[in-house]
Symmetry: C2
Subunit: 341 residues, 2 copies
DNA sequence: CTGAAAGCGCTAACAT
DNA sequence: ATGTTAGCGCTTTCAG
């Protein structure tokens, strides 16, 4: 006898129970429940009736072990609090729709060691695919992904070498494009407002690209300020106030995310700044939730739902080879920048 | 021989491979990797070295089947787009911290049929526990949860009969409490702005409680308006404009969520309304992200992180019996209601 | 401290 | 159309 620990609930109901109740073999029950192979209509209904009557719930653990097939897709993201990631998940859900694959989410809290553990944990369930946010990983994590023997897709940004397939936008290029847009609109005294977290790689890449873009035009950032902790209206407001109090002559504020930009926008309007003439602002991501602010914030669409969808399609297509997909972030001028000219 | 399908990657590495490499039995490897039983230090290091060298990733599927133990907790929520649910997940993560349990999330998209499927899917993985948002379920889903033989916790709201344990707040009571607060502050011509979705049970319960509260004071809603689709600033703004254009004499607006209330607030300020004297507003949830609006919106804390944490603790404590935990939502007056008087 | 044997619940492969 | 057999990779149990 094998023991069950005292916390185990009622003993599990098995295929055998259903088979006995229906008066057929386990194999037939298995076939009926999975719609595999030809089974007579009479037998089918008998089996269904028995399964329903008993309240049978199949054991996917056993099924997965026997068939060597697990219809799960691991998804590893930094956090659920930052709205970008739920949006990516939505895209993944769309891409997996009409497939029998289901996403399983794990979070790394922006910590690569944690990410490595989560990836290990995920792979130990032998999923059909793995989607991981970012291209920065520990060596061990990279090795695991390379040897996983399943489709692996890195998502969000394409700035850096990827393990296998990669779907995202170049955040360096996004920052650079933003610099170009801002300069073309005549702004010259530009401040950057970002996160002090070294773990937010994409934010840093945008800043880098942005500064590169300014440098090419012979300019540099007039000032910059960084915050710790989560983005939000309060953060954006406070940063803006701090930055302008020490650099009152700035004519543009580029925020690392729309969330902070929104807080900044409200602060500026409250203080009577003339936007976009006296000062312009721009954010990043294009959060739909912010439609309805007094002014539409200039931003760049991070294409996160598209990214999730494409990544899911690669997994669903069982592509082991690494076709990289670089999407283009679209600049959305909104109301907070002057027209090009 | 058992076939492998052509898409399967390299054949899986097994305990046996590690055992051979280390020159010990599979059993010893198993013990080392799980820290079970006494193993000599010499053997331990040999095994670890072999496992690392081979890049061995254990197969949890096989382990789970053999041990009848799965360290996963299923979590079923309506959506990830509504920020309340990521917050609940954060709480669950906290509550599961220092445990070997890991949450696995599934979404129902506010559809009970879909929810039933997700619950079935989750249970078929034989998790150690199940957390489900809401107390409304299909009969079949309820039956599955009752017979699951694992700890099951319904979260978010306590308004209705629960299957097993239940952790949440009473949204009916929350609505009623809000009515009391508003009336005590002298507002009398009150409008409600909510969702037209019949699937958002908690929103409906708050409205119900709110109307009950007004009725007890001999009042009723002066007007109400509903929106389809997601909440957001744009939605809040549009609803507010519509409602006030047909009922310009309202002196209070109660929104189903802070998100809409924020859009409404911005609209009202833009139009020069005197808040909170000419008109007061209140929302629900207490979203931290909104700190930084021109005025702090009166709201009620939905205690969602606490709810997640408590639910996780019940699962971690392996409580099969149903201790219900009713938390109290706290009213936060902010700046958009007059003082009581 | 280590190993051998048995089997978890299911499905692939091969009967019939 | 249905049944039989073998075993997925691991852990439990029991034997040393």
């Amino acid at each position: 006898m094998r023991g069950r620990n005292p916390f185990d609930g009622k003993p599990q109901m098995t295929l055998r129970d259903v088979a006995e109740a229906a008066g057929v073999s386990e194999m037939t029950v298995s076939r009926v429940l999975r719609n595999r192979g030809d089974v007579s209509e009479r037998t089918r209904s008998k089996v269904f009736a028995a399964a329903r009557a008993l309240g049978y719930v199949p054991n996917k653990i056993a099924g997965a072990l026997a068939s060597n097939r697990v219809n799960l897709v691991g998804v590893v993201i930094p956090s659920l609090s930052n709205m970008v990631f739920p949006d990516v998940l939505t895209g993944i859900g769309d891409g997996l729709h009409e497939t029998d694959l289901q996403p399983v989410v794990g979070t790394s809290n922006y910590d690569l060691e944690q990410e490595e553990k989560v990836i290990f944990e995920m792979l130990s369930w032998r999923p059909s695919g793995l989607i991981v946010a970012g291209v920065e990983h520990t060596d061990a994590a990279r090795k695991m992904m390379e040897n996983a023997g399943i489709p692996v897709v890195e998502v969000m940004d394409t700035d850096g070498p990827s393990v296998a397939a990669c779907v995202g936008i170049s955040h360096v290029a996004a920052g650079r494009a933003m610099a170009e847009e801002i300069l073309a609109r005549g702004y010259r005294k530009i401040g950057y407002l970002g996160s002090s977290s070294l773990r937010d790689f994409r934010s840093q890449k945008r800043q880098q690209g942005f500064e590169d873009g300014l440098k090419e035009a012979g300019l540099s950032l007039a000032d910059k300020i960084f915050y710790a902790g989560p983005s939000g209206f309060g953060t954006g407001r406070a940063m803006t106030e701090d930055l302008l109090s020490r650099s009152p002559d700035l004519d543009f504020l580029y925020y690392n995310t729309d969330m902070n930009a929104a807080g900044g926008l409200l602060y500026l309007l409250e203080k009577g700044y003339d936007i976009p003439n006296q000062i312009g602002i721009a954010g990043f991501n294009s959060f739909a939730i912010l439609d309805g602010l007094p002014l539409r914030i200039a931003t760049m669409d991070s294409r996160r739902a598209d990214i999730g969808r494409e990544a899911a399609k690669i997994i669903a297509g069982r592509a082991l080879s690494g076709a990289d997909i670089g999407l283009s972030p679209e600049f959305l001028a909104g109301d907070t920048v002057r027209p090009r000219g």
